[in-house]
């Protein structure tokens, strides 16, 4: 299976990832890409403690993730790569060509963001960044848990708060 899931989720490691996706999909490694987390021993330990022993967690900056991506793709285990925001994923896509699909798992409410789905709130800048990703050939969908119906980008942007 290798690394075939690229997820934007402002909660990073949390229940939906570790249990919701982790158990039914047999996730065996997670790659957390965040330039701040990778430089903080405490933050890395915080996330490491949330991951069950059967799942390995790797921490990367955008730059190191781009360098390691081929080896992650060659890993026979099932993996998922996570960023906490659209901009980090956009930078990774630019630095590591070949990422063809990105899933929005959760971008929650903040000032300036409008609800598009129950778990997706976007600012105008967020929407422009997602459109730019799509224009570059990346398929963008939203799906919080495996049992949910994937929502295409056009439907996300047209959404007014539907599930």
């Amino acid at each position: 299976m290798a690394l075939d899931r690229f997820r934007i989720d402002d909660r990073l490691i949390h229940g939906q990832v570790v249990v919701g996706w982790g158990q039914p999909c047999g996730l065996r490694f997670l790659v957390l890409v965040d330039d701040a987390v990778v430089d903080s021993d405490w933050e890395r330990e915080l996330y490491r403690m949330g991951v069950p022993p059967e799942i390995e967690i790797r921490f990367d900056s955008v730059e190191s993730a781009a360098r390691h991506l081929e080896s992650y793709r060659a890993d026979p285990r099932t993996g998922m790569l996570l960023t906490s925001d659209i901009e980090t994923m956009r930078r990774l896509v630019a630095a590591a060509p070949g990422i063809r699909a990105v899933t929005i798992g959760g971008i929650h409410h903040q000032q300036g963001r409008t609800e598009r789905l129950r778990y997706v709130f976007l600012s105008p800048e967020d929407e422009a960044a997602l459109r730019a990703l799509a224009a570059g050939g990346v398929t963008v969908i939203a799906q919080d848990v495996p049992g949910a119906t994937p929502v295409a980008l056009a439907d996300i942007l047209a959404g007014g708060g539907t599930p």
């Binding site: 402002d10 909660r11 990073l12 490691i13 949390h14 229940g15 990832v17 570790v18 249990v19 405490w42 915080l46 996330y47 403690m49 949330g50 991951v51 069950p52 929650h108 409410h109 903040q110 129950r118 778990y119």
Partner: protein
């Protein structure tokens, strides 16, 4: 729940906290030992803010959460690190919360929850 009498916060996914504490109230009549919080629709910063506000309003220094990997636990641990005198118990169950409601401290309550886990197989005999 009455914030001023609360000794702890309970936060989890969906209606976990409200459901658990409704059971505590039904069994022991001590639901007022807790303030219940949910994480639905909240960003990590929003979860942390909700916890901080409830801590300030209640004076509680113990936070129970549902899942070790959960966003509530992550937020509670960040607060515990910053504040220094907060205790976080994750993986909280009904026996855990009942024990706490009836006077156990956080560590004792966690142990009661651990002890209450049983697997009864087959005919249920010993």
């Amino acid at each position: 729940m009455t914030p001023n009498s609360a000794r702890a916060l309970v936060m989890g996914h969906g209606e976990f906290a409200a459901g658990m504490i409704s059971a505590v109230e039904q069994i022991a009549g001590r639901g007022d030992a807790f303030v219940t919080l949910g994480n639905s629709g909240l960003s990590p910063g929003g979860i942390e803010s909700r916890l901080r506000e409830a801590l300030a309003a209640s004076g509680a220094r113990v936070i129970f959460t549902d899942l070790p990997a959960g966003s509530c636990t992550m937020a509670a641990r960040r607060i515990a690190k910053a504040e220094g005198d907060i205790t976080v118990v994750t993986g909280a169950t009904l026996p855990t919360l009942l024990a706490f409601a009836l006077g156990a401290d956080a560590r004792e309550a966690a142990e009661r929850g651990r002890e209450a886990l049983l697997v009864v197989e087959g005919g249920g005999g010993t």
